[in-house]
Amino acid sequence: MRNSLVFYVNGDRHEVRGEAAGRTLSDYLRGGCGSPTAERLVGTKIACAEGDCGACTVLVGKTAPSGDRLDYQTIDACIAFIYQLDRRHVVTVEGLQEDSRLAPAQQAMVDCHGSQCGFCTPGFVMALQGLVEESDDRGPLADETLRLGLSGNLCRCTGYSQILDAGKRLDPARVDSVAKQYDPAPMLADFAALGDGPVRVNPRDTHQLNGHATAAPPVEVFLPSTLPELVEFRADNPDAKLVSGATDVGVQFNHGKLAPVAVISTTGVAELQHLEVVDEELVIGAAVPWSRVEAFAKHELPAYHAILTRFGSPQVRHAGTLVGNLANASPIADSIPFHYVAGSTLELASVGGRRDVPIEDFYLGYKQLDLRPDEVIIAVRTPLPAENVQLRLYKVSKRRDMDISTVTTAFWLELEGDLCAGARLAAGGVGPTVVRLPRAEEALIGRPLTLEAMRVAGRIAREEITPISDVRGGADYRLQLVENLFAKCWHEVRGNGILTGSSG
């Protein structure tokens, strides 16, 4: 079994084991890539270390499904770990320039006064390049594409306008992909030669034998490549932390709330990559990043898609997963209310076999899961709404984008004419777990769906929840929101109040 991690940084091969394997990517880059003589790649900035500003944005290339190229996407280096980068190519802002000529994204930022203090700038440059990499048609970047595409990068100085100007000045048709600068062929060949097998780095036993016990031993890393390997690692290492996109794990690590002795990274497990509709059910594999779900949902599940465009940031969606969101079990996780009302099922696996758990049974209390230490979630199955279902999902947060919700709600209303034949409702941010609102549902089922009926149900829902006041909002506000969202839902079902643009 391979016992080191192999990846490339700006075209250079890095082979890593030991302490560096467990570092965040930004630490690794800024600290000299584990070598005292290497250049410290300090262009990747740290302004928050919690994934919430984008100053540390880098591009990561991974082998495309076709196997013949690398596809590049942005991630936040401050919450990505080296062990997640096996057989990837990292491009930092230092790697964008060719022969000391500014790359087009860099030049556009200079020309448009896109930088002031400059601290956020490398992140924006990488995000702009990322938009070019992801652009299908290589047409000019539309205002909306730019705004959403850059919403994972904050800037305190510029007010963004001149950064948007820079984005508009970029002509993707004339911007080279980083794949042109860094020939993928040798990297792909190297990755192929390394093979698809599992990787195990820093095995604990050898370290103990080597007498490393005084200093904290480096984190042991498992990279299973198949489901059997995954469940076996899991069974043998109940103390290992499962890691998917690390967008929760990375933040907890940086805040000192998590220091695992061992990790199992699921990203490379082939069986967890499924994203498909099977028998009217959407199946989302545990390792499928949000960005894939988002693209898929655009046509299949527009209501879900709308929520996902506001889930975290593009960088977070390139890494984070549904299963991570569900397993992290935050009461304000944006995906959970939808999966409650849709009646999703979690597929769990262990060496002993598989079992299905309906999502509502999965949560036993605040961050308490029906998940044994030897089990992993491998997929989530979700029935798709029938024609007569009105699905409405709401995320209310202080700031529109890149914000955690104050309150989330999901409405799944089965209509027969004017009659509400079925209703499944859920709310998050109103208690220790996401909850269904059974009494409000009851008040709706079998009655005509009128505004008054929704108002009554909203008032009932208010009685069913016990929100607290915290940094994101007061309890009264949350109560009022939940009540009001019933009326809002009714108006939207009726096609009222869906605004497009301003009067100006």
């Binding site: 904050l154 007010g159 009022q480 009326a487 100006g504």
Partner: protein
């Protein structure tokens, strides 16, 4: 070609986009460098019983743990009132207040030590809010007063209120704001010889940093150098509080003789450093039937935090902006800073101005509602009128002159299609039951200069080399605002050189002594002017020397310095333009003839004079003015606000760099929008800040920008002052961001009928929904036409 007036890129733009521009944390690690951390108070108020460092000291890699008794000088700091203990002694007065400085070989060891330090504290109930402080009579400095000459008599003042057709009274509340500079507070201190220390600091204030470090270590100022190449943002937050990491690291240097660096974690930075002051203002105002102001009284209370810092000065600027752009015939203002158990609040772009401006702007909106006129018309009616002696004197006695406020209003109304859009908004509000819209204009008249007279000075060093290149350093620091770029342009033009031949050097106390902070928007005004003075001296010497060179009896030219032209990279006599000497060659020749090609320039702003005791005088050299119109849409179910459109128009004089200035205007504007919308500092009852990072503290995102954003500048031929007739631009646009809040208020007013709309800053979704719910019972009507709201219209 002259470079002043050109939109040159920022002088570090290439460094920014390639990642090559270095900030403190990016500088190479030095030999034997130590990591610095600190342990702070776990409570907001209390008395330290004991500090147990035993366990922390035992952590491998920990080099030293320092408390206040390691300071070499007195433990009393503060730019205005020295009331601040740098490291807590017996009392702790805010959460996170530094108690122990830690130095270690690795960040992990430092952090471990921090966790193991045990401070035993007898906790006291903290004073947190302004109301708490008022109840406890916990104040910083005396109450300050200012009033219009003519409003001194209580009898007259009260009579004005009694006889006025209308009066309003109430309380206005605005919250604090975190600077959220991207680069956190940071410093690297390096030992020199003989106990000297070099401090590389992310600071707006090199001189203050030098002075504070010298004091804390018991050194002479001549033993400390403070240097700053650039900051990753400052916004006022690094005017005084950049001293925290500077002193901590310098202390470690003194103790260990090793270099030491501290870059604050975001959470620590947000927890322990000061912010914009929360305010509470009790006001009353009297006005005529047409909305014309007659008299007003404002009592401002600010939450100063635990120590004075700049709070009294901030309050002064609030009071000086009580009028904003409007003439108030009788105005009385008082200001009192409250002492509380929060970190000492400090400078933030606008420096008290926003808190003053917001109040009167909000009042004008209310007045318009009472008299039934469009708020635009009421504002325009009350503007200062240039040249009208009855309507151009402020409450502190300065004449507001040479401005284009009327023209700004009129042009903005036309360019934004204001009247039409007001109708469209009204129309929308009568038909929409799910959303409500508002539109509003607010203005700014911002006084430029430090209100503390002596700070209005600067010096600069200009060195011309024998290849014709130039280095410039001034006391002004670069935090992204483009100061270096503008000075580079000014100097390049003086010597007729392309800007690429002028290089801005890191700001250092070695080159510029006794400097003022880069603040009050006056960075370019002061330092640019000083650089020009230095250039002028060199040019005079060059002309004298060149005059002799070009004098020629053959051609009948007598030596005449006034005929010497230095331009286009060359030097010549305008009577004989064919005989040119390339500038570099000329400089080399001049040196050989022992001409001094370096100079130090000094500048002091003329005419500013203000008496703090009487509250009268001319604190400002001139005013930067402007106005903005915002339109917003609010979701009536959730309070979510969408910023539809903004039109901004400003008089910034003749811009030295329109690209940079545009960036300042938009950046400041959006920062102001952040203050009034979503930037909310939440504390728990024990005084712990809950919003300690971007996850919970929401500065504007790109998607919060108005869909349509028009920014333009208005010519003002009357403005003939200041360096190249430019105007300061850093702070004023921030206050135009208030227009977004005003538009929200305007929207709520359309739901309120005759009721007054109470709305605090920031108008978060929670604030908006709560107010809407209170206004109309249930926030949302059942259907068009049947609702109580539309029924009332």
């Amino acid at each position: 070609m002259a470079s002043v007036g050109q939109s040159l890129p920022h002088d570090s733009a290439t460094g920014h986009v390639t990642g090559a521009a270095r900030y403190i944390d990016d500088l190479p690690r030095l030999d034997r460098e130590l990591y610095v951390d600190f342990a702070g108070s776990p409570v907001a108020a209390g008395r330290i019983r004991s500090i147990d460092l035993t366990a922390a000291r035992a952590v491998p890699g920990v080099v030293c743990l320092l408390t206040y008794d390691h300071l070499g000088g007195p433990n009393h700091f503060g730019p205005i009132i020295p009331d601040e203990a740098f490291l807590a002694e017996e009392e702790v007065v805010y959460v996170g207040q530094p108690i122990v400085v830690i130095a270690a070989e690795t960040p992990a060891a430092a952090l471990r030590a921090r966790q193991l330090i045990v401070v035993d504290i007898e906790e006291r109930k903290p004073v947190l809010s302004i109301d708490d402080a008022l109840a406890a009579k916990s104040f910083i400095g005396p109450e300050r007063r200012m009033m219009t000459p003519g409003a001194e008599s209580d009898a007259d003042f009260e009579a004005a209120f009694r006889s006025a057709p209308h009066t309003l009274a109430g309380r206005f509340v605005s919250g604090g704001q975190e600077q959220f500079y991207f680069e956190t507070q940071a410093a690297l201190s390096i030992p020199g010889e003989g106990g000297d220390v070099r401090v590389i600091s992310s600071t707006q204030n090199t001189t203050e940093t030098q002075a504070v470090v010298a004091e804390a270590l018991g050194l002479g100022m001549h033993q400390v150098v403070c240097e700053c190449q650039r900051m990753g943002g400052g916004f006022g937050g690094k005017e005084t509080q950049s001293a925290i990491p500077a002193v901590m690291t310098a202390l470690v240097v003194k103790q260990t003789g090793r270099p030491a660096r501290l870059v604050l974690r975001r959470g620590d930075d947000m927890r322990i450093t000061g912010k914009r002051h929360p305010y509470q203002t009790d006001y009353r105002v009297a006005f005529a039937a047409d909305g014309r102001l007659i008299a007003a009284q404002m009592a401002y209370y600010s939450n100063g935090g635990a120590f004075a810092d700049l709070s009294t000065s901030v309050m002064e600027r609030t009071m000086l902006h009580a009028d904003n752009a409007y003439h108030v015939p009788m105005l009385r203002v008082t200001g009192q800073v409250c002492r509380t158990n929060l970190p000492p609040n400090t400078a933030f772009r606008g420096f008290g101005g926003p808190q003053g401006v917001a109040v009167i702007e909000s009042l004008l909106e209310d007045i318009a509602q009472v008299v039934g006129r469009d708020p635009f018309d009421v504002r325009r009616l009350n503007l200062y009128r240039d040249g009208d002696p009855a309507r151009s004197v402020t409450h502190y006695g300065q004449i507001v002159r040479d401005h284009v406020l009327d023209e700004t209003f009129d042009r903005l109304a036309a360019s934004s299609n204001y009247r039409h859009r007001v109708n469209a908004v009204t129309e929308f509000n009568t038909t929409s039951i799910t959303h409500v819209r508002g539109i509003a204009l607010t203005a700014i008249k911002f006084g430029i200069s430090f209100t503390t007279k002596f700070l209005n000075q600067a010096n600069a060093l200009v060195n011309v080399y024998t290849d014709g290149t130039v280095q410039v350093s001034t006391g002004g620091t670069e935090m992204g605002q483009g100061l270096y770029t503008k000075i580079q342009q000014l100097v390049a033009d003086e010597f007729g050189l392309p800007p690429s031949r002028v290089r801005m050097m890191a700001t250092s106390t070695e080159k510029s002594n006794n400097t003022s902070p880069t603040a009050a928007s006056a960075g370019t005004d002061l330092n640019g002017a000083a650089a020009l003075v230095a250039c002028g001296q060199i040019i005079e010497r060059m002309r004298d020397y060149a005059a002799g060179l070009f004098a020629s009896t053959e051609r009948g030219l007598v030596a005449a310095p006034e005929h010497v032209v230095i331009d286009d990279g060359a030097v010549w006599d305008d009577r004989d333009p064919s005989h040119r000497i390339e500038f570099g060659e000329f400089c080399a020749m001049a040196r050989r003839e022992r001409v001094d090609l370096g100079a130090r320039g000094f500048y002091a702003t003329p005419g500013v004079d203000y008496n703090r005791e009487t509250g009268c005088g001319n604190p400002f050299f001139y005013y930067t003015t402007g106005a903005a119109i915002a339109e917003v849409t609010i979701d009536r179910f959730t309070g979510e606000l969408t910023f539809d459109r903004a039109d901004v128009l400003m008089d910034i004089g003749r811009s030295i760099n329109p690209g940079v200035d545009r960036g300042q205007v938009i950046g400041g504007f959006i920062q102001g929008v952040g203050w009034v919308t979503n930037e909310e500092l939440r504390y728990n009852d024990a005084g712990h800040l809950l919003s300690t990072g971007p996850t919970t503290y929401k500065i504007p995102n790109v998607t919060d920008l108005p869909r349509v954003l028009n920014v333009d500048f208005i010519d003002n031929p009357k403005h003939q002052k200041n360096v190249r007739q430019s105007k300061a631009v850093g702070e004023p646009p921030l206050m135009l961001g208030i227009c977004a809040w005003m538009a929200a208020k305007n929207a709520l007013q359309s739901l309120a009928g005759d009721k007054r709309v109470e709305l605090a800053i920031p108008a978060t979704g929670e604030e908006l929904l709560t107010r809407m719910t209170a206004l109309v019972g249930q926030a949302v009507p059942d259907a068009v036409g049947t609702s109580q709201i539309s029924g009332r219209r």
